[in-house]
């Protein structure tokens, strides 16, 4: 018998204060899904960075805008979607923070950390809605922490007209 996915969906005012609210939800959902403490922290950090991107870069720190989050627990994975009301971004345009020349850059590590901590990361611009990122963490993933999470193999960036 197929396991029915569990879903938590919330819309938050686009403020930095609500980044911590999203973290708390991520921590509780990932614990409920069965992730150990280390993976819970990785998921929490990935959601933190996604919320920062949504609030700061996507919604330009405009509190009249909102961020929509959806956590869906499947039997073998957790899928998280974070959508802002911004005009999208191309993750390929972000310089590799591990390059020698970029090591002392002050910014540009957020997407890298998300990719490192999660098993899949996708970005999609949905016309009329905003930019949606999808993060996936496999429940049975017990490998070592991935290094150099700038691999593009799981990445997509598309526009929907």
């Amino acid at each position: 018998m197929a396991v029915k996915p569990s879903v938590v969906e919330v819309t938050l005012e686009s403020t930095l204060t609500n980044v911590e609210v999203a973290e708390e939800i991520a921590r509780r959902v990932s614990a409920t899904a069965g992730f150990d403490e280390e993976d819970q922290h990785k998921i929490e950090m990935a959601v933190h960075e996604s919320m920062i991107n949504a609030v700061w870069h996507g919604n330009k720190n405009d509190a009249s805008k909102s961020v929509w989050l959806r956590f869906q627990i499947y039997g073998d994975k957790l899928e998280i979607r974070v959508r802002d009301q911004g005009s999208g971004f191309d993750p390929k345009s972000i310089p590799d923070p591990l390059e020698e020349a970029n090591l002392l850059n002050v910014s540009g590590r957020g997407i890298f950390l998300i990719r490192t901590f999660m098993d899949d990361f996708r970005v999609e611009y949905v016309a009329g809605l905003g930019t949606e990122v999808t993060l996936v963490k496999n429940l049975n993933y017990r490998g070592e922490t991935k290094q150099g999470g700038t691999g593009r193999e799981h990445e997509s960036h598309s526009s929907t007209n």
């Binding site: 850059n105 950390l113 999470g149």
Partner: protein, 118 residues
């Protein structure tokens, strides 16, 4: 919980005890202001004690890099003390662990700075 900072002076070394969250917004702004003040005062030997830092994000890491660069540009040195496992792992992942001089013993860290009149 926001970030808190306490500044101590040991010989020529300014020890900054940080606690809480170093994240985009208040935490990063506080650290930036603190480092700017110390550099302005001519304090060029800075030791950041991160033992009680509970959370640091990509912006917080960027702020550590910014502090390192600001002190280095004034001919000084900025070192890190007592990394938690989470901060240690983040610096490893971002390849910054080899950029920073990291210590886990305060006395040894303080003595690793050049002497005041050297």
């Amino acid at each position: 919980m926001s970030m808190k900072a306490t500044v101590r002076q040991i010989d020529s070394v300014t020890v900054v005890d940080l606690s809480g969250r170093i994240t985009l917004g208040e935490g990063c702004a506080q650290l930036r202001e603190l480092i700017r003040n110390e550099v302005t005062k001519g304090n060029k030997h800075v030791l950041l004690n991160l033992a009680d830092v509970t959370y640091i994000d990509s912006s917080g890491i960027g702020e550590l890099v910014s502090a390192y660069t600001a002190v280095s540009n004034q001919g000084g040195q900025l070192k890190l003390l007592n990394l938690t496992k989470k901060v240690h792992d983040l610096l490893q992942i971002t390849k910054l662990y080899t950029v920073f001089d990291v210590h886990d013993d305060e006395a040894k860290a303080v003595s690793s700075f050049p002497k005041a009149n050297a």
